[in-house]
Amino acid sequence: MKFRKGALAVAPVLIATLAACSGASDAGSGSSGGDVKGTTINYWYWKDDTTDQTMNQLAAKFEAQTGIKVKIDDSVAQPKFYDKLVNAVAAGNAPDATQLDTNMMGKLINSHVLADLTSETKSWKGYDSVLPTMWPYVTDSKTKKIYAVPNKFLMFYAYYRKDIFAADGVTSFPKTQAEFLDTLKKLYKPKKNQYAFDFRGGPNGQDQWAAFLVAGGAKFLDDQGNVVFDSPEARKSNDIYLKTAQYAPPGAVNDGFAQIIANLQSGAASVIINHLGAAKTLDKALGNKVGVALIPSATGDPAQTTYMGTMNAEAVLGASKHKEAARQWVQFLASNDAQVAIAKSTNGYVPVTKEAAALPEFTQNPNIAISLEAAKHSVTSWPLLPGTTAATTKTWQPLFQGAVQGKNTGDQVITAVAESLKTGR
């Protein structure tokens, strides 16, 4: 029995420890501003290909320039990255700087985990060399404060099998969402094991879904920053998206990234939506059989359409003791040379600086060209709201899958996602 009493005595101590360990606070920015030479900062990011050394090379270059040593942790791949970051913040062991994507940022901003970089960014000499369309991705829409520096930019667009389209007599990629549905009907040949659009109903399929709805006229926020996702345009586009399911490959409701790529390669799928991340794999496997196109929109006119992108941005943590050194590192990563290196790395990204984005080796790459074309007009991303993480990684999947399988209505998906964005639950 002694054992149990001892256990209870431990509890208050534990709670006290937990409380004391709350790493989150943006009070007292610890940067001394002065000498940062010889500092070591911890930096986290997730990497795509385990053999890619681009970031390590950039860190070495940065150390040679500034004397700041960057200790990189790239051990956690994307789906668990956010979990590990949350645990580290709770345990007071967070890095000084980290990569984040647009789905994660709102919650972190709202929980005061990230350092406010507004003034340091606006006074930074590289500020104007970054494409102006990139800044909304890292700016809180309500307070207009900047919490990160743009780094790896990706725009959603469609990949399709030109050979399959041609064989079925489809000469051009559909422009409007209504035409899109008609085209899919023509591509649907289940007897040949050929299906139309693999919509990705599994993990992270919310990005493809949202990109389609945004092109169909849905908006996340109004100009005041209020959630307006629950709109007739969103519902209409969502209905079309759900109708594509009848022409989708078997299992599409559970498909993740790997499956949509494999299905497009094998011809089980004729169309998928993804960003640049799939380009190299598909080019290698399919060569000129694969084409790229803008996502079909409500009107069919790109000039009147908003397209969706996603940003891997670099933030500094509020609890960092080396904020100044960390800020220099994240700004270095958005410099022109670093951007060229990152854009050329294993998978490639769309450069965020004007100069790099204008280089012929990028503008002549059809995948980057289509990304830039989509980004030329009006662009958006998942908003930086505290509820975005819940909406994207928790709420969407079960309800969307339920709608595909007829367990709930399509409107319930829209309502629930809007509600999650508003309330965070």
């Binding site: 509890a11 409380a19 956010y82 409701v253 990684t393 399988q405």
Partner: protein
Amino acid sequence: MLSPALVILAGFILYPAVNAIYVSLTDTNLLNLSAQQFVGLDNFIYMFGRQDFRDSLRNSAVWTFGNVTFQLVIGMIGALILNARFRGRGLIRGVVLLPWATPSVLVALMWLWILDPNLGLLNHLLRAVGLEQGKPIAWLADQHLALPTLMAIDIWQGIPFFAVMILAALQGVPTELLESAKVDGANAWQTYWRVVLPLIMPTVLITVILRLIWTANYFDLILVLTNGGPANATLTLPLNSYITSYKGGDFGGGAALGVVQAVLLAVLVAFYMRQVRRSEIA
């Protein structure tokens, strides 16, 4: 003699466990612990009202009892096989352990591609022997097939565990008891049922009860293969707890789900203990 084990257990399990109970009574946001507030039973009330809680409760029951039952029965047959004398027994005993000793990440990916509806080996084979016509079967994406498919994979992985534990227990069965049973005219089945089974029962019981607990808590496989889908058809309580905590950011609610599961399992353990006392094992 007890203290080394108890010190390790208290330090690395009891202490965090007490903390988890406390968190279930708060509105914890791990990213901002200073704002943590005590909310009493609110998390529990909120969770009980949700459909996904009821779904995950039902799935957890099917998953836990189904997996352990099949693993136990097949594992016991496996133990009897491995206990028999045959050529290459050492090699076979090593080989059959492989599924158990393979990290879940790898098991999940292996099966993901074997079961893929369009490109997977299983559907290729079924097609080749003419068992599958029409549209390919989407093993993990069909709302009625997904949970049984996941269970089959977990059973596949868990059989060696039971086989080894029961095999070890079989070694304690004195040979002359078997011989005397034979002399008395008992057939193999009677010998097994009346002599062997009662003797290995203590090991079987503790193996089953802990396996029930682990299976109930295990969700890595489900997370990778279906992430609880389609439409919560494979959402179990611990997976729900994980998603609520880390994806929904509601750590109090997630902990509440974990505590509910722990209480349900505790009832199971208590029931087991009564059986144990009755048979004087403890």
